[in-house]
């Protein structure tokens, strides 16, 4: 069961708008044990030069994981999700995500390959504001481990 190389470059429609809330940023920061006030306190964030509270650098996963799920759910993508592990993750930030952002996530299949009986799928999710301002790109390598 190998992934079809013809899938490389396939893009999917942008997600629904994800509106970033201050409480969500605070919740995500707390889940990482961070009490950095730029995540929690608007005045502290402004004093540090941000227009509103900013998200931790891995916050985008809250949107991009479900966007990558759209790829895995594509019937042409023959990947046994019950055997999938997260192999690699990369973020490139054009600017920090902040409260008030209205974001859309657009997934693309960047690479497919087989290695040692495992199927490897690389997805890139580009996150922009709904007006098209680039915010970040999240690249994920998913590995479906071969049987035995």
């Amino acid at each position: 069961m190998a992934l079809d190389a013809g899938l490389v470059g396939r893009s999917y429609p942008p997600s629904a708008v994800y509106e970033v809330g201050r409480v969500k940023i605070a919740e995500f920061a707390a889940a990482l044990g961070s009490s950095d006030p730029v995540h929690l306190d608007v005045e502290a964030a402004r004093a540090a030069g941000h227009p509103d509270v900013v998200a931790p650098p891995t916050f985008a996963i809250a949107l991009t994981l479900s966007a990558a799920g759209v790829v895995v759910a594509d019937p042409d993508v023959d990947l046994d999700y019950s055997r999938v592990v997260h192999g690699e993750q990369r973020f490139v930030h054009h600017r920090p995500i902040r409260a008030g952002d209205r974001l859309v996530a657009t997934p693309t299949i960047e690479a497919v390959r087989s290695m040692g009986g495992s199927d490897l799928l690389t997805t890139r999710v580009d996150v922009t504001t709904e007006d098209g301002e680039p915010v970040c790109s999240a690249t994920s390598l998913l590995v479906a481990r071969g049987e035995g």
Binding site: A31, L32, D36, P57, I61, A62, S82, G87, E88, F91
Partner: protein, 142 residues
């Protein structure tokens, strides 16, 4: 928030302060809720062992997030991390007790780039074993 590190104060070889983060089952539940990753291998021993894991494991993205926190706490600004990537190696097994597991993050400036940016290479371990590899961040310093 710590004081900001300035580009002029770092060179190849500059080490970040070592950080040790405890990770308990409660932390996994909190991260599952905050991230929306409800995969039961991060909260159910029954499911985790049925897929061949020794027990419940931490979300790779939680480990990545903790290591990112070590970098942003050092840099003094979470927005300073302009690129950040990891490869997930060994899982962090989190026992169902009050102490859980520990994730230790060490970092070192591996390259000085242009425009005040530096590349930080991270060594992230749990129980003495490396859990992330190729973990590196590009950090923009003031």
């Amino acid at each position: 928030m710590s004081a900001r590190v300035r580009a002029a104060d770092v060179a190849v070889g500059t080490e970040l302060p070592e950080r040790v983060y405890p990770v308990t089952r409660a932390d996994l539940v909190r991260y599952a809720g905050a991230s929306g990753d409800l995969n039961p291998i991060h909260w159910s021993d029954r499911v985790a062992t049925s897929v061949g894991l020794p027990g419940v494991i931490a979300h790779g993205m939680l480990t990545m997030g903790l290591a990112g926190r070590a970098v942003s706490d050092w840099a003094g600004d979470p927005a300073a991390l302009v690129e950040y990537q990891v490869r997930f190696g060994r899982p962090v097994v989190v026992p169902d007790d009050d102490t859980g597991a520990e994730v230790t993050v060490r970092g070192r400036v591996a390259a000085v780039l242009d425009e005040g940016r530096v590349r930080v290479d991270l060594t992230v371990t749990s129980g003495g074993e490396k859990v992330l590899s190729l973990a590196r961040a590009v950090v923009r310093l003031s």
